[in-house]
Amino acid sequence: MTQSDPELVSLNGVGHYFGQRLVFRQVTLGVAPGEVLLVLGPNGAGKSTLLQIIAGLLTPGSGAIDWTLEPGEIGYLGHGTCVYPFLSASENLFFWARMHGMTPAVEDITTVLDRVGLKAAALERAGTFSRGMAQRLSLARVLLLDAKLLLLDEPATGLDTASRSILDQEISQARARGAAVVWVSHDARRDVLLADRVVVLQGKGQAFLGTTTAYQQWWCDA
Protein backbone atom coordinates (compact mmCIF):
# COMPACT_ATOMS: atom_id res chain seq x y z
CA MET A 1 0.00 0.00 0.00
CA THR A 2 1.35 3.35 -0.96
CA GLN A 3 0.36 6.35 1.08
CA SER A 4 0.69 8.81 -1.80
CA ASP A 5 -2.26 7.35 -3.72
CA PRO A 6 -5.51 9.24 -3.29
CA GLU A 7 -8.04 7.26 -1.36
CA LEU A 8 -10.77 5.66 -3.45
CA VAL A 9 -13.31 6.25 -0.77
CA SER A 10 -13.12 8.08 2.53
CA LEU A 11 -15.64 8.17 5.35
CA ASN A 12 -15.65 10.96 7.88
CA GLY A 13 -17.63 10.55 11.09
CA VAL A 14 -20.25 8.42 9.38
CA GLY A 15 -23.17 7.18 11.45
CA HIS A 16 -26.39 5.45 10.61
CA TYR A 17 -29.79 4.86 12.15
CA PHE A 18 -32.54 2.45 11.23
CA GLY A 19 -35.53 4.45 12.31
CA GLN A 20 -34.44 5.57 15.76
CA ARG A 21 -32.13 2.62 16.32
CA LEU A 22 -28.46 3.57 16.19
CA VAL A 23 -26.44 1.10 14.15
CA PHE A 24 -23.07 2.79 14.55
CA ARG A 25 -21.64 6.27 14.69
CA GLN A 26 -18.37 8.10 14.14
CA VAL A 27 -16.84 5.72 11.64
CA THR A 28 -13.87 7.39 9.99
CA LEU A 29 -11.77 5.45 7.54
CA GLY A 30 -10.34 5.53 4.05
CA VAL A 31 -9.51 2.89 1.52
CA ALA A 32 -6.54 3.34 -0.81
CA PRO A 33 -5.78 1.46 -4.04
CA GLY A 34 -4.02 -1.85 -3.54
CA GLU A 35 -5.25 -2.25 0.00
CA VAL A 36 -7.28 -5.01 1.63
CA LEU A 37 -9.38 -3.78 4.54
CA LEU A 38 -10.98 -6.42 6.70
CA VAL A 39 -14.25 -5.47 8.44
CA LEU A 40 -14.88 -7.44 11.63
CA GLY A 41 -17.51 -7.32 14.33
CA PRO A 42 -20.31 -9.26 15.98
CA ASN A 43 -23.71 -9.84 14.37
CA GLY A 44 -25.77 -6.68 14.10
CA ALA A 45 -22.77 -4.39 14.42
CA GLY A 46 -23.60 -2.91 11.01
CA LYS A 47 -20.91 -4.47 8.83
CA SER A 48 -23.21 -4.97 5.85
CA THR A 49 -24.71 -1.52 6.43
CA LEU A 50 -21.23 -0.04 6.30
CA LEU A 51 -20.60 -1.84 3.03
CA GLN A 52 -23.84 -0.50 1.58
CA ILE A 53 -22.86 3.01 2.60
CA ILE A 54 -19.45 2.61 0.98
CA ALA A 55 -21.17 1.32 -2.17
CA GLY A 56 -23.38 4.43 -2.20
CA LEU A 57 -26.54 2.35 -1.93
CA LEU A 58 -27.42 3.84 1.42
CA THR A 59 -27.16 7.49 2.39
CA PRO A 60 -25.56 7.69 5.82
CA GLY A 61 -27.63 9.30 8.56
CA SER A 62 -24.74 11.54 9.58
CA GLY A 63 -21.18 12.28 8.52
CA ALA A 64 -19.66 12.63 5.09
CA ILE A 65 -18.46 10.21 2.46
CA ASP A 66 -16.33 10.94 -0.62
CA TRP A 67 -15.52 8.83 -3.61
CA THR A 68 -12.87 9.32 -6.27
CA LEU A 69 -14.52 6.57 -8.29
CA GLU A 70 -16.56 6.65 -11.45
CA PRO A 71 -19.95 4.90 -11.54
CA GLY A 72 -19.51 1.21 -12.27
CA GLU A 73 -16.09 0.92 -10.69
CA ILE A 74 -17.43 -0.72 -7.54
CA GLY A 75 -17.74 -4.49 -7.55
CA TYR A 76 -19.97 -6.22 -5.03
CA LEU A 77 -19.90 -9.84 -3.97
CA GLY A 78 -22.11 -10.86 -1.12
CA HIS A 79 -25.23 -12.64 -0.01
CA GLY A 80 -26.94 -11.74 -3.26
CA THR A 81 -25.04 -13.37 -6.10
CA CYS A 82 -26.34 -10.90 -8.72
CA VAL A 83 -26.97 -13.65 -11.27
CA TYR A 84 -30.22 -14.32 -13.11
CA PRO A 85 -31.25 -17.90 -12.39
CA PHE A 86 -32.85 -18.40 -15.80
CA LEU A 87 -29.90 -17.19 -17.85
CA SER A 88 -26.90 -19.42 -18.48
CA ALA A 89 -23.58 -18.67 -16.81
CA SER A 90 -22.10 -17.07 -19.92
CA GLU A 91 -25.30 -15.14 -20.72
CA ASN A 92 -25.17 -13.69 -17.22
CA LEU A 93 -21.61 -12.53 -17.74
CA PHE A 94 -22.38 -11.11 -21.19
CA PHE A 95 -25.33 -9.19 -19.80
CA TRP A 96 -23.41 -7.62 -16.93
CA ALA A 97 -20.43 -6.77 -19.10
CA ARG A 98 -22.72 -5.00 -21.58
CA MET A 99 -24.50 -3.14 -18.82
CA HIS A 100 -21.06 -1.89 -17.80
CA GLY A 101 -20.45 -0.66 -21.31
CA MET A 102 -18.09 -3.42 -22.34
CA THR A 103 -18.24 -5.51 -25.52
CA PRO A 104 -16.58 -8.75 -24.48
CA ALA A 105 -15.63 -11.47 -26.94
CA VAL A 106 -16.64 -15.07 -26.30
CA GLU A 107 -13.02 -15.87 -25.39
CA ASP A 108 -13.01 -13.26 -22.62
CA ILE A 109 -16.04 -14.87 -21.03
CA THR A 110 -14.57 -18.35 -21.36
CA THR A 111 -11.31 -17.22 -19.79
CA VAL A 112 -13.04 -15.76 -16.76
CA LEU A 113 -15.25 -18.81 -16.34
CA ASP A 114 -12.16 -20.97 -16.56
CA ARG A 115 -10.49 -18.98 -13.80
CA VAL A 116 -13.29 -19.82 -11.38
CA GLY A 117 -13.58 -23.41 -12.61
CA LEU A 118 -16.96 -23.07 -14.33
CA LYS A 119 -15.88 -23.47 -17.95
CA ALA A 120 -17.71 -26.78 -18.30
CA ALA A 121 -20.93 -25.25 -16.99
CA ALA A 122 -20.85 -22.14 -19.20
CA LEU A 123 -24.08 -22.97 -21.03
CA GLU A 124 -26.04 -24.20 -18.04
CA ARG A 125 -28.66 -22.10 -16.35
CA ALA A 126 -27.36 -20.42 -13.23
CA GLY A 127 -30.51 -21.52 -11.39
CA THR A 128 -29.36 -25.12 -11.52
CA PHE A 129 -26.07 -24.28 -9.78
CA SER A 130 -25.31 -25.17 -6.20
CA ARG A 131 -24.75 -22.31 -3.77
CA GLY A 132 -20.99 -22.68 -4.15
CA MET A 133 -21.11 -22.66 -7.96
CA ALA A 134 -23.42 -19.62 -7.96
CA GLN A 135 -20.98 -17.86 -5.66
CA ARG A 136 -18.15 -18.70 -8.06
CA LEU A 137 -20.16 -17.30 -10.95
CA SER A 138 -20.72 -14.20 -8.89
CA LEU A 139 -16.96 -14.00 -8.38
CA ALA A 140 -16.45 -14.37 -12.14
CA ARG A 141 -18.87 -11.49 -12.65
CA VAL A 142 -16.87 -9.24 -10.34
CA LEU A 143 -13.59 -10.27 -11.98
CA LEU A 144 -14.91 -9.58 -15.46
CA LEU A 145 -16.09 -6.10 -14.50
CA ASP A 146 -12.58 -5.29 -13.35
CA ALA A 147 -13.69 -3.13 -10.44
CA LYS A 148 -11.38 -0.67 -8.72
CA LEU A 149 -13.09 -1.16 -5.38
CA LEU A 150 -14.26 -4.62 -4.41
CA LEU A 151 -16.83 -4.97 -1.67
CA LEU A 152 -17.01 -8.49 -0.32
CA ASP A 153 -19.79 -9.32 2.12
CA GLU A 154 -18.85 -12.67 3.65
CA PRO A 155 -17.96 -13.96 0.21
CA ALA A 156 -16.84 -17.32 1.55
CA THR A 157 -20.40 -18.35 2.48
CA GLY A 158 -21.16 -21.70 0.86
CA LEU A 159 -17.75 -22.07 -0.71
CA ASP A 160 -15.82 -25.32 -0.35
CA THR A 161 -12.09 -25.43 0.28
CA ALA A 162 -11.19 -25.41 -3.41
CA SER A 163 -13.44 -22.41 -4.09
CA ARG A 164 -12.07 -20.59 -1.06
CA SER A 165 -8.56 -20.88 -2.39
CA ILE A 166 -9.76 -19.48 -5.74
CA LEU A 167 -11.29 -16.58 -3.83
CA ASP A 168 -8.10 -15.98 -1.82
CA GLN A 169 -6.08 -16.09 -5.02
CA GLU A 170 -8.33 -13.59 -6.76
CA ILE A 171 -8.25 -11.22 -3.80
CA SER A 172 -4.46 -11.25 -3.89
CA GLN A 173 -4.51 -10.67 -7.64
CA ALA A 174 -6.95 -7.80 -7.31
CA ARG A 175 -4.66 -6.17 -4.76
CA ALA A 176 -1.68 -6.76 -7.04
CA ARG A 177 -3.34 -4.88 -9.91
CA GLY A 178 -4.10 -1.96 -7.64
CA ALA A 179 -7.71 -2.57 -6.70
CA ALA A 180 -8.88 -1.96 -3.17
CA VAL A 181 -10.83 -4.58 -1.28
CA VAL A 182 -13.22 -4.05 1.62
CA TRP A 183 -13.97 -7.42 3.06
CA VAL A 184 -16.56 -8.33 5.68
CA SER A 185 -15.55 -11.54 7.31
CA HIS A 186 -16.58 -13.87 10.10
CA ASP A 187 -13.41 -15.91 9.96
CA ALA A 188 -11.03 -13.29 11.34
CA ARG A 189 -8.26 -15.68 12.26
CA ARG A 190 -7.94 -17.01 8.72
CA ASP A 191 -8.72 -13.93 6.67
CA VAL A 192 -6.55 -11.53 8.63
CA LEU A 193 -3.53 -13.11 6.96
CA LEU A 194 -4.63 -11.76 3.58
CA ALA A 195 -5.50 -8.27 4.80
CA ASP A 196 -3.49 -5.08 5.19
CA ARG A 197 -5.68 -3.32 7.68
CA VAL A 198 -8.54 -4.17 9.97
CA VAL A 199 -11.54 -2.21 11.20
CA VAL A 200 -13.68 -3.56 14.03
CA LEU A 201 -17.27 -2.43 14.49
CA GLN A 202 -18.45 -3.06 18.00
CA GLY A 203 -20.51 -1.30 20.65
CA LYS A 204 -22.25 0.98 18.12
CA GLY A 205 -19.01 2.47 16.89
CA GLN A 206 -15.57 1.90 15.49
CA ALA A 207 -13.74 -0.10 18.15
CA PHE A 208 -10.48 -0.49 16.27
CA LEU A 209 -8.79 0.63 13.07
CA GLY A 210 -5.21 -0.23 12.22
CA THR A 211 -2.78 -2.58 10.54
CA THR A 212 -3.13 -6.31 10.93
CA THR A 213 -0.17 -6.52 13.30
CA ALA A 214 -1.67 -3.81 15.48
CA TYR A 215 -4.95 -5.68 15.35
CA GLN A 216 -3.37 -8.90 16.62
CA GLN A 217 -1.80 -6.91 19.46
CA TRP A 218 -5.17 -5.23 20.23
CA TRP A 219 -6.98 -8.54 20.16
CA CYS A 220 -4.48 -10.15 22.55
CA ASP A 221 -4.78 -7.17 24.92
CA ALA A 222 -8.54 -7.20 24.93
Partner: protein, 224 residues
Protein backbone atom coordinates in the same frame (compact mmCIF):
# COMPACT_ATOMS: atom_id res chain seq x y z
CA UNK B 1 -43.62 16.90 22.16
CA UNK B 2 -45.24 19.86 23.83
CA UNK B 3 -48.88 19.67 24.86
CA UNK B 4 -50.63 22.71 23.47
CA UNK B 5 -54.27 23.62 23.99
CA UNK B 6 -54.59 24.29 20.23
CA UNK B 7 -56.42 21.09 19.40
CA UNK B 8 -58.84 21.50 22.31
CA UNK B 9 -59.58 25.09 21.31
CA UNK B 10 -60.16 24.08 17.70
CA UNK B 11 -62.36 21.16 18.72
CA UNK B 12 -64.53 23.27 21.01
CA UNK B 13 -64.81 26.00 18.36
CA UNK B 14 -65.74 23.34 15.79
CA UNK B 15 -68.42 21.99 18.13
CA UNK B 16 -70.03 25.36 18.69
CA UNK B 17 -69.83 26.34 15.02
CA UNK B 18 -71.42 23.05 13.96
CA UNK B 19 -74.26 23.54 16.47
CA UNK B 20 -74.68 27.03 15.04
CA UNK B 21 -74.61 25.60 11.55
CA UNK B 22 -77.42 23.20 12.37
CA UNK B 23 -79.50 25.97 13.89
CA UNK B 24 -78.97 27.96 10.69
CA UNK B 25 -79.71 24.95 8.48
CA UNK B 26 -82.98 24.02 10.17
CA UNK B 27 -84.28 27.33 11.45
CA UNK B 28 -82.69 30.12 9.36
CA UNK B 29 -82.52 28.68 5.86
CA UNK B 30 -85.87 28.17 4.13
CA UNK B 31 -87.02 24.77 2.91
CA UNK B 32 -86.17 24.47 -0.77
CA UNK B 33 -89.26 24.71 -2.91
CA UNK B 34 -88.86 21.73 -5.25
CA UNK B 35 -86.57 19.38 -3.33
CA UNK B 36 -88.01 19.84 0.12
CA UNK B 37 -86.28 18.75 3.30
CA UNK B 38 -83.87 16.41 1.48
CA UNK B 39 -82.03 19.46 0.20
CA UNK B 40 -80.71 20.00 3.75
CA UNK B 41 -78.22 17.14 3.21
CA UNK B 42 -76.51 19.48 0.80
CA UNK B 43 -75.32 21.64 3.73
CA UNK B 44 -73.22 18.70 4.93
CA UNK B 45 -72.38 17.28 1.54
CA UNK B 46 -70.67 20.32 0.08
CA UNK B 47 -68.38 21.11 3.06
CA UNK B 48 -67.36 17.43 3.27
CA UNK B 49 -66.45 17.42 -0.41
CA UNK B 50 -64.54 20.72 -0.21
CA UNK B 51 -62.44 19.74 2.76
CA UNK B 52 -61.81 16.32 1.22
CA UNK B 53 -60.37 18.01 -1.86
CA UNK B 54 -58.20 20.22 0.31
CA UNK B 55 -56.99 17.09 2.13
CA UNK B 56 -55.88 15.60 -1.16
CA UNK B 57 -53.97 18.77 -1.89
CA UNK B 58 -52.31 18.49 1.53
CA UNK B 59 -51.25 14.92 0.71
CA UNK B 60 -49.49 16.38 -2.32
CA UNK B 61 -47.86 19.13 -0.24
CA UNK B 62 -46.69 16.61 2.36
CA UNK B 63 -45.37 14.30 -0.35
CA UNK B 64 -43.34 17.04 -2.01
CA UNK B 65 -42.08 17.99 1.46
CA UNK B 66 -40.90 14.43 2.07
CA UNK B 67 -38.92 14.42 -1.17
CA UNK B 68 -37.20 17.70 -0.34
CA UNK B 69 -36.62 17.10 3.35
CA UNK B 70 -36.94 13.56 4.55
CA UNK B 71 -38.45 14.51 7.88
CA UNK B 72 -41.11 12.51 9.63
CA UNK B 73 -43.47 15.46 10.02
CA UNK B 74 -44.12 15.94 6.29
CA UNK B 75 -44.82 12.25 5.98
CA UNK B 76 -47.15 12.33 8.98
CA UNK B 77 -48.98 15.30 7.47
CA UNK B 78 -49.46 13.48 4.17
CA UNK B 79 -50.68 10.41 6.05
CA UNK B 80 -53.21 12.21 8.21
CA UNK B 81 -54.43 14.29 5.26
CA UNK B 82 -54.98 11.13 3.22
CA UNK B 83 -56.97 9.57 6.04
CA UNK B 84 -59.13 12.67 6.40
CA UNK B 85 -59.52 12.89 2.64
CA UNK B 86 -60.76 9.32 2.40
CA UNK B 87 -63.06 9.79 5.39
CA UNK B 88 -64.53 13.10 4.19
CA UNK B 89 -64.86 12.12 0.54
CA UNK B 90 -66.43 8.83 1.64
CA UNK B 91 -68.99 10.72 3.71
CA UNK B 92 -69.53 13.16 0.85
CA UNK B 93 -70.25 10.24 -1.47
CA UNK B 94 -72.69 8.68 1.00
CA UNK B 95 -74.53 11.96 1.63
CA UNK B 96 -74.56 12.64 -2.09
CA UNK B 97 -76.05 9.23 -2.74
CA UNK B 98 -78.71 9.70 -0.05
CA UNK B 99 -79.64 12.98 -1.68
CA UNK B 100 -79.63 11.59 -5.21
CA UNK B 101 -82.01 8.74 -4.39
CA UNK B 102 -85.16 10.86 -3.77
CA UNK B 103 -84.18 13.70 -6.12
CA UNK B 104 -82.74 11.90 -9.16
CA UNK B 105 -84.38 8.56 -8.37
CA UNK B 106 -81.02 6.76 -8.58
CA UNK B 107 -78.32 5.97 -6.02
CA UNK B 108 -75.64 6.75 -8.50
CA UNK B 109 -75.33 8.70 -11.72
CA UNK B 110 -72.57 9.65 -14.08
CA UNK B 111 -71.81 13.15 -12.92
CA UNK B 112 -68.25 14.37 -13.48
CA UNK B 113 -67.82 15.69 -9.95
CA UNK B 114 -69.36 12.61 -8.40
CA UNK B 115 -67.30 10.24 -10.47
CA UNK B 116 -64.11 12.21 -9.83
CA UNK B 117 -64.80 12.03 -6.09
CA UNK B 118 -65.37 8.28 -6.29
CA UNK B 119 -62.21 7.64 -8.26
CA UNK B 120 -60.18 9.86 -5.92
CA UNK B 121 -61.64 7.88 -3.03
CA UNK B 122 -60.33 4.70 -4.67
CA UNK B 123 -56.92 6.24 -5.40
CA UNK B 124 -56.37 7.51 -1.87
CA UNK B 125 -57.69 4.33 -0.28
CA UNK B 126 -55.02 2.57 -2.34
CA UNK B 127 -52.55 5.08 -0.96
CA UNK B 128 -53.59 4.15 2.58
CA UNK B 129 -53.16 0.47 1.72
CA UNK B 130 -49.58 1.25 0.68
CA UNK B 131 -49.01 3.20 3.89
CA UNK B 132 -50.07 0.29 6.05
CA UNK B 133 -48.04 -2.28 4.08
CA UNK B 134 -45.19 -3.87 6.02
CA UNK B 135 -42.34 -1.91 4.42
CA UNK B 136 -39.27 -0.47 6.20
CA UNK B 137 -39.87 3.09 7.44
CA UNK B 138 -37.52 5.11 5.27
CA UNK B 139 -38.50 3.26 2.13
CA UNK B 140 -42.24 3.50 2.78
CA UNK B 141 -41.91 7.23 3.23
CA UNK B 142 -40.43 7.66 -0.27
CA UNK B 143 -42.85 5.27 -1.95
CA UNK B 144 -45.84 7.00 -0.36
CA UNK B 145 -44.51 10.40 -1.37
CA UNK B 146 -44.19 9.25 -4.98
CA UNK B 147 -47.72 7.88 -4.99
CA UNK B 148 -49.03 11.03 -3.29
CA UNK B 149 -47.63 13.13 -6.12
CA UNK B 150 -48.80 10.83 -8.92
CA UNK B 151 -52.29 10.70 -7.40
CA UNK B 152 -52.57 14.47 -7.29
CA UNK B 153 -51.31 14.96 -10.83
CA UNK B 154 -53.98 12.48 -11.87
CA UNK B 155 -56.93 14.47 -10.49
CA UNK B 156 -57.37 16.89 -13.43
CA UNK B 157 -57.18 14.02 -15.89
CA UNK B 158 -59.88 12.14 -14.05
CA UNK B 159 -62.07 15.21 -13.95
CA UNK B 160 -61.67 16.11 -17.62
CA UNK B 161 -62.10 12.55 -18.82
CA UNK B 162 -65.29 12.04 -16.82
CA UNK B 163 -66.63 15.33 -18.09
CA UNK B 164 -65.79 14.50 -21.67
CA UNK B 165 -67.42 11.11 -21.22
CA UNK B 166 -70.65 12.57 -19.96
CA UNK B 167 -70.99 15.40 -22.48
CA UNK B 168 -71.60 12.76 -25.13
CA UNK B 169 -74.05 10.87 -22.95
CA UNK B 170 -76.77 13.50 -22.53
CA UNK B 171 -77.52 13.61 -18.86
CA UNK B 172 -81.05 13.75 -17.52
CA UNK B 173 -80.04 16.00 -14.70
CA UNK B 174 -78.93 19.58 -14.89
CA UNK B 175 -76.28 20.58 -12.39
CA UNK B 176 -77.56 21.49 -8.96
CA UNK B 177 -76.77 24.25 -6.51
CA UNK B 178 -77.86 27.18 -8.61
CA UNK B 179 -80.52 29.58 -7.42
CA UNK B 180 -79.95 29.40 -3.69
CA UNK B 181 -81.47 31.95 -1.33
CA UNK B 182 -79.09 34.25 0.63
CA UNK B 183 -80.16 32.52 3.87
CA UNK B 184 -79.15 29.24 2.36
CA UNK B 185 -75.70 30.59 1.52
CA UNK B 186 -75.33 31.89 5.08
CA UNK B 187 -76.16 28.47 6.51
CA UNK B 188 -73.76 26.90 4.04
CA UNK B 189 -70.99 29.32 5.08
CA UNK B 190 -71.37 28.47 8.77
CA UNK B 191 -71.46 24.76 7.98
CA UNK B 192 -68.33 25.10 5.84
CA UNK B 193 -66.51 26.92 8.64
CA UNK B 194 -67.59 24.41 11.30
CA UNK B 195 -66.62 21.44 9.19
CA UNK B 196 -63.31 23.17 8.39
CA UNK B 197 -62.51 23.67 12.07
CA UNK B 198 -63.33 20.04 12.78
CA UNK B 199 -61.22 18.98 9.84
CA UNK B 200 -58.26 21.08 10.99
CA UNK B 201 -58.49 19.73 14.54
CA UNK B 202 -58.58 16.16 13.24
CA UNK B 203 -55.65 16.74 10.87
CA UNK B 204 -53.46 18.20 13.63
CA UNK B 205 -54.49 15.52 16.09
CA UNK B 206 -53.84 12.69 13.67
CA UNK B 207 -50.50 14.15 12.50
CA UNK B 208 -49.33 14.31 16.08
CA UNK B 209 -50.59 10.81 16.76
CA UNK B 210 -48.61 9.46 13.83
CA UNK B 211 -45.47 11.27 14.97
CA UNK B 212 -45.85 9.97 18.52
CA UNK B 213 -46.47 6.47 17.21
CA UNK B 214 -43.27 6.64 15.20
CA UNK B 215 -41.32 7.83 18.24
CA UNK B 216 -42.71 4.98 20.29
CA UNK B 217 -41.76 2.49 17.59
CA UNK B 218 -38.29 3.98 17.53
CA UNK B 219 -37.88 3.80 21.28
CA UNK B 220 -39.08 0.22 21.23
CA UNK B 221 -36.62 -0.65 18.46
CA UNK B 222 -33.80 1.08 20.35
CA UNK B 223 -34.52 -1.11 23.36
CA UNK B 224 -33.99 -4.28 21.32
Amino acid sequence: MKVTPLISILAVAAGFTLVGAHLAIWLHAPVEATMGLVQKIFYLHLPLAWWAMLSFFLVFVGSVGVLFRKTASWDALAGSAAEMGVLFSGLALITGSLWARPIWNVWWTWDPRLTTALIMWFVYTGYLVLRTSPIPHAKRRILCAVLGIVAFVNIPFVFFSTRLWRSIHPSVITSSGGGMEPEMWQAMGISLAGMGLLWLALIILRTRQILIQERLDGLWAARL
